[in-house]
Amino acid sequence: MSINSLNPLKARFFSAWGFFSRGILIIAIYVILHLIGLREYTSFISGTTSGGAGDLLGITYFIAYSLAVFVAPVAIIAALFMKISARYAGVED
């Protein structure tokens, strides 16, 4: 396995590592945004807008959060199915 294939951005999309690494990457991005305090900016949802940049940060957080909750776990579980189905078909992942 080359170093490039371990890079989440360069790994093949339809591969166990491709799914798994992207899932982890999404969660990592969300955790970073959370730790730097972007959760505060989600007040745009209720119309308590702080204005342009604040709203943009809130929307960025909202998207990362939605992906981390609904998409990343799907990708991570899919990685497991990918492994199992490749083994079943007798092919390399």
């Binding site: 209720s46 909750v69 899919a78 078909a89």
Partner: protein, 400 residues
């Protein structure tokens, strides 16, 4: 055949994604499920209600924090500053009734908010708590007053008195009731103006509740007025298509400005429960029929029946695609809690944990996706119950 299918990388990938989506998506809600007892307690106060109240008490007793929070509200909508005060005082009254040990803690906070609010109204006039368009025309009834301000202040005074009588507040409460009744009587549909030539059912139903609280406390009887009001509302203020009460109309009650709205009807049903429980429940059921919705296990509410309509500064934005209205969804908590709609409440609480972005700290909890008025409404939905129950039960003397 299956081996051949799985030897294709893309086929394997798509199948894996579909299978895992089938497993994850129907179960994702479990991350956000909390026991109902965290929000609603049969007796005493639920932990989440205490956490919201803790944070509010902190900022109402810290001038700097209060200033920052209220300025944030006022920069968007002065009404939100006012309503945050009212919903919080109404909540504290209910919390005191739920747990008498809290009474000594909540009374000074309630009094401080009531006194500051009345003093701001006296110093700056009614427009201080209204949106700028309140100055664009003259009120039909002079001198200019808004039933939005009178009704909510009267209900703050009334619920404070319900928790513990205070003679100064009795006088202020009675004065507001007399003013409201006198102005409501002058309207053909018995509804006073919130804004110039614009009457809102939200404000008039809060006024009715404040009058009813006054009847309970002072032994007055406005049942004849309530009966006339209900008859008039059923004849003139019902939307023919949905059967729901409309939201706003002119002083004469001839022109409807806004039909049924979520940010109005949930609270109207809550207030009308004091006057006519059967009619209130019918309005709640119709509101759920037209406004209640969900995305999977996550419940929320539309602002307009069927989710079709615009957003406004009154009720906040509507999230595109989902047509989720934060204003309507916030007040749906109050409606669902009032009518003990556990299924809808569970779905709403799940959405609260998913999409309102709670942050817990030493002071309590705040919902980042919400704001001060939103949090106060949430708190009210968790605390409400004992005040209405007490009034509906009637005074011991009335039972004989």
């Amino acid at each position: 055949m299956l081996k051949k299918f799985f030897s294709c990388r893309v086929c394997r990938g798509i199948t894996s994604l579909l299978l895992s989506a089938l497993i994850w998506l129907p179960n994702a809600h479990r991350l956000f499920d909390q026991p109902e007892s965290n929000y609603i307690a049969q007796s005493g106060i639920a932990p989440n209600a205490m956490a919201i109240a803790g944070r509010h008490i902190k900022f109402w007793t810290d001038p700097e924090l209060r200033k920052a929070e209220l300025e944030k509200m006022r920069s968007r909508n002065a009404e939100w500053d006012f309503m945050a005060r009212c919903f919080f005082v109404w909540s504290l009254a209910n919390m005191g009734l739920r747990d008498p040990a809290l009474t000594e803690t909540v009374l000074p906070v309630m009094d401080s908010i009531i006194d500051t609010t009345i003093s701001l109204e006296e110093q700056n006039g009614i427009h201080f708590f209204l949106m700028p368009y309140s100055r664009r025309a003259e009120f039909e009834l002079q001198p200019a007053r808004s039933i939005f301000i009178d009704g909510e202040i009267a209900l703050m005074l009334g619920l404070r008195r319900l928790l513990a009588e205070k003679p100064e507040y009795q006088k202020l409460h009675r004065e507001r009731i007399e003013i409201m009744l006198q102005r409501m009587e002058q309207s053909p549909v018995l509804c006073a103006e919130s804004y110039p030539d614009e009457s809102w059912l939200f404000c008039n139903s809060v006024a009715l509740a404040a009058i009813k609280v006054g009847d309970y406390l002072d032994g007055t009887d406005h049942s004849e007025f309530f009966a006339r009001w209900l008859k008039s509302a059923k004849e003139s203020l019902i939307d023919k298509e949905s059967g729901l009460l409309v939201s706003s109309f002119d002083f004469a009650g001839k022109t409807v400005f806004d039909g049924p709205e979520g940010s109005t009807i949930w609270l109207v049903a809550h207030c009308l429960k004091l006057i006519d429980p059967a009619f209130a429940e019918e309005q709640y059921r119709l509101a759920t029929k037209h406004l209640k919705t969900s995305m999977g296990y996550f419940g929320y509410a539309y602002e307009w029946p069927g989710g079709i309509g615009h957003d406004d500064v009154d009720s906040g934005p509507i999230i595109p695609l989902l047509n989720l209205s934060a204003g309507s969804t916030g007040l749906a908590f109050v409606g669902a809690a009032t009518f003990d709609d556990r299924e809808y409440l569970a779905a709403l609480y799940r959405s609260l944990e998913l999409g309102a972005f709670p942050v817990y700290d030493a002071n309590g909890v705040k919902y980042c996706g919400s704001n001060t008025v939103g949090d106060a409404v949430l708190l009210y939905s968790m605390a409400q119950g004992p005040a209405w129950e007490k009034i509906m039960k009637g005074r011991p003397a009335d039972e004989h």
